[in-house]
Symmetry: C2
Subunit: 238 residues, 2 copies
Amino acid sequence: MTRTKDPRAAGLASLAGLIADETRAACLLALLDGRAWTAGELARRAGVAASTVSEHLGRLVAGGLLAEERQGRHRYVRLADARAATLVEDLAAHVPPAAGRRAVRTLREAGVESAMARGRTCYDHLAGRLGIALTDALISRGLLRQDTGFALTDAGVDWFATTGIPLASAGRRPLARACLDWTERRPHLAGAAGAALCRHALDAGWCERIGSERAVRVTPPGERALSALLGISPGALG
Amino acid sequence: MTRTKDPRAAGLASLAGLIADETRAACLLALLDGRAWTAGELARRAGVAASTVSEHLGRLVAGGLLAEERQGRHRYVRLADARAATLVEDLAAHVPPAAGRRAVRTLREAGVESAMARGRTCYDHLAGRLGIALTDALISRGLLRQDTGFALTDAGVDWFATTGIPLASAGRRPLARACLDWTERRPHLAGAAGAALCRHALDAGWCERIGSERAVRVTPPGERALSALLGISPGALG
DNA sequence: CCCACACTTCGGTACCGGCCGAAGCGTTCC
DNA sequence: GGAACGCTTCGGCCGGTACCGAAGTGTGGG
């Protein structure tokens, strides 16, 4: 018999418990790129046996943080929705930066790391120096304001419309939301507008993914478009 | 020798681990009222021995979530800062609502519960129906916008100034932030502006705390002020 | 000066949960 | 059809930790 306890506290504790394991945390961080991973990929990434990660994924799915999709002998898994991604992002943003340091060993690792710092996806929006540059440009042009909160201005809504980026007013998801970048330690545009911008950038060929990682690179046409539409100089993305 | 792991994942897991215990979660939720509690009060609240809660508080302080202050034979403990409060709020907002249900047994409990639903503090800002009414009033008067994010408008900044509520541009804390209310399941005003509004409401006698709980009540002068300044009818707070 | 009180430290217990390897199951490829 | 592959289930091991009561420490009151 368990003593009469607060169910709110129990819910909070069990939710936090889902993330409170290093292996599960590593899976969630990997999945923050917004794409679907197989169980085996996550096991290799986390450095544990396949059987171990299988049990972890079962718990994360049961807890509603992940959605799964079976295809043949593969089990694809991804973050359940934008809410789950926000949860992980928010929590990760509270991790003291000192804990994020990591010794870079090989040249290849250094290359991947600098590409990630330059530009990457963060669930469904753009992050890294690219994300910061976009956010700064939107702010300096009066399309987004960050001084009194975090919201698009009317001019900002117009800009999306005239630029041809559809802003789906999807359900209850906020249009603009701040997401704290962990390499830059500064907020950048997330939410429905951030997702729309990212999708358009990939669709229109402004950016392309590098290899199978979550890093993205700005293409030459993308440089021209960003310069023309937002006055972003290519040097700002170096 | 521990295998080469991601220090980011380790940091995330250990942070979540601080919250991933029902007793610690209960303490954090109790401390969400923004005031300082003694170790004994928290022990009684959580239904565990004093020695148990003592160890938990030690871990929470070491983890940076709580700040402590010793006074004589008492150990006062409170949330370390607005960041820590936001962390707990955010996480609690993701707890499925079904987990929040709780059987109300006594008449006294029902009274406390309805008073809390009417108005309460959430760390340093106002929540409950009172918080929602304030937020709605600010939005309908064009002082706050929620449709494209969450930010004060220029008119909103002016309103605070002319009403005599100082908006300290304190450090990096955002002026306006959305906090999801767990009784109303709707966002209300938090951040520096929410804190300033709450402090002013208590200082000016618009509201007063009920007993030693976190519930607050609107006073008659407060009703007049809220009606005159924001057009909030007393009925909206019923 | 002594007792009551709030809290902490310590020893001990019980339990939960992460991990692995082996075996089992279904899919895909040759 | 058989072999390789990806994943899951199971049993067992191990470490970490939540919990308590009892004893210890320091403060405040009578």
